[in-house]
Symmetry: C2
Subunit: 399 residues, 2 copies
């Protein structure tokens, strides 16, 4: 189930990734997911008010109906801050794909990632799209994953299976990196497909919840891209009645496993990062407080540089929670690194605890927990450290 | 009026800075401002919910009455997250100073900065306090400034004078650095004294406004310390009636000049920083939007690494404003670096503009403006770049 293993086929889907010359440095840059027919599709998009043309296009299409026939992606150019031209280009990408597949334009999802502010080279995009339409194959997920990469160091593919009522249900997906992206801004793109049979409305609800715990629960540098998109498509090819009740819960767990693995892969591959940290705030007075405190701590530069230094600096953790806007009473806060409590009841637990915590922080993946002691709400954010490499990569003058 | 010039005396005040052995590496670490009598005093404190004991003590004292006789500061230990012991220690610092000066405990302001979580070495603090009380002199501001430093590379003293109705009014102050402080967390401390005659209530109003445009308008890494404090004391020794109307406005401008110079000194001296950038958001739909957008852009790691790389990366600037929560319509946003507009009306102004902007960014101090095109509100934040040195300094394991 690692990124390296060959993913199983997912009935009802074909994938492609081809080189169209959009990326300056070459490599595959047009990618396609095609469903055999129009299928259920749920999408979660960036909350940035500065939104790229493809996000406007795709969000409107899904607002119309939670369905899609295909997803077309280009890398190398974000089609963001491109004005009216960009809107027309995104629409043309949908229209051209729809014409080839014989479906409505609104049944096509469009994503772009790469440099901001330059118009799409549409001649290349058209040729790439035609090539991708011809190249799509059931075993093409890895080619798809390669073609959506920007500065990711490796393609990210994950999958998982469950058996429900005698039927094996498969979910597989691919994603590309968030944050720390040179030469421009990060874009997080995540795609999961399944052959499960699930009603459109159920898929929308389930996918929104999953994204809140996976793609929207990772933090690399706190910057939100203009292009972030997470899509889930369900073909229903496995047959049977639409899943509900406990079976729907099992599907949610399956999809979350794949989405969570993909999301963590993004943090692992963040440029300059050397640590994957599951940062949990629990004991919060409300769900909103848990999210606010966790995301503030997870994006604090002082916390992230301490992670890089393997420094169990509980003072920075507590102070970041304190400024988050969440209800915090320092006398009730307890801080643990792995299973070592280093601060509680206004008291540092001494050099022994600190030494044990430091040893845990020397490993590449570990957990940190802040218990606020005020309630029952919890939230986990997956974050990484800030390294000097992060600065070096992101400070380089675009050229 | 630079930090290097010798500040003039401010009638009614004496200052001291002495070495008490609180800092592990030695150097002055107990500092004192003494007014000849109880004078008007206004304070602005950290908004962090995790608040150090001295802040609790000082805030309560000023809530009682906007007056003070003295300000006592120790560096080397923040007296934060120290529970009941810390509260007692802060109270003792006030009580001991009050006893020596023959005033009430509530007339003493107490500040601490340094390592979090360790109890104050009170024997050393007591001896240092007694020494500082004996050493206080009218020309001791620079000694005071040296004794409040933690990892600041230089003492920060600023002053200015105006003439009102034939009387010369002097304001002078000192501060210590915000953000990027090793081994623990940043603390920003700022102090301005004046010999002007101003009513307590007026000073409180004026000082709150000034701090919003100076000490609270600087951003180093977005982390807010548990100990941040900015105090202004007015002795009235210059005589005359309490200032009002246009004369009060002139005093506000005088105090703001000193506080602004000090605040910018903090950013200039931020660890690893090589650029001082005045980041202005104008054309915002509301004052709150202007502040939100400016502070989000000013703390974005992607923006700050681009500043370090002298990269006029308007995409990162616009996208950070877009995620800030402020109302933003990308089609109306214009971005300028210095006097060069590089993006407006959804259009990049081309390589010539970018080259000119890059040349401006090669200088150590410059301005960046985002005009949101939605209203008349503006806010300026002084920020700095993120360098690899910042990571190195803050990642070092505490030892």
């Amino acid at each position: 189930v690692t990124s390296e293993a060959t993913p199983p086929l997912v009935a009802g889907f074909r994938f492609a990734g081809v080189s169209a010359g959009i990326k300056k440095r070459g490599g595959p840059d047009v990618a396609l997911i095609i469903a055999d027919r129009v299928v259920a599709c749920a999408g979660v998009f960036t909350t940035n008010l500065v939104v790229a043309a493809p996000v406007v296009q795709s969000r409107a299409a899904l607002a119309d109906a939670s369905r899609a026939r295909a997803v077309v992606v280009n890398s190398g150019n974000a089609n963001a801050c491109t004005g009216e031209v960009g809107v027309r280009d995104a629409a043309e990408m949908a229209a051209r794909t729809a014409a080839a597949l014989g479906c409505a334009e609104r049944d096509i999802q469009v994503c772009s990632t790469g440099v901001i502010g330059a118009p799409l080279p549409m001649d290349k995009v058209r040729a790439g799209l035609d090539a991708a339409l011809a190249a799509a194959r059931p075993d093409g997920l890895l080619a798809f994953a390669r073609a959506i990469m920007t500065t990711d160091t490796r393609p990210k593919v994950r999958f998982s299976q469950i058996t429900l009522g005698g039927r094996t249900i498969t979910a597989a997906g691919a994603c590309k990196g968030a944050g720390m992206i040179h030469p421009n801004m990060a874009t997080m793109l995540g795609f999961v497909v399944t052959d499960a049979n699930v009603a459109e409305a159920e898929l929308v609800t389930v996918w929104r919840r999953i994204c809140g715990r996976t793609f929207n629960a990772i933090s690399v540098d706190g910057d939100t891209s203009t292009n972030d998109t997470a899509l889930c498509l369900a073909s229903g090819e496995v047959g049977g009645a639409p899943l509900r009740g406990a079976e729907l819960d099992a599907l949610e767990a399956l999809l979350e496993r794949v989405a969570g693995d993909l999301a963590r892969d993004i943090v692992r591959d963040a440029e300059g990062a050397t640590k994957l940290v599951a940062l949990t705030v629990r004991g919060a007075a409300s769900e909103a407080d848990a999210r606010l405190a966790a995301s503030t701590v997870a994006t604090s530069p002082l916390v992230k540089t301490a992670l890089h230094g393997e420094d169990p600096n509980w003072g920075r953790l507590v102070a970041a929670a304190g400024r988050s806007g969440a209800r915090v009473d320092p006398a009730r806060v307890a801080v643990s690194i792995g299973d070592v409590t280093i601060f509680s009841e206004n008291r540092w637990h001494g050099p022994e605890a600190e030494k044990a915590a430091n040893a845990i922080m020397k490993t590449p993946e570990f957990g940190i927990a802040l218990d606020l002691g005020l309630g029952t709400h919890a939230h986990t954010v997956f974050t990484c450290d800030f390294s000097a490499d992060y600065v070096r990569i992101n400070a380089d003058y675009r050229s």
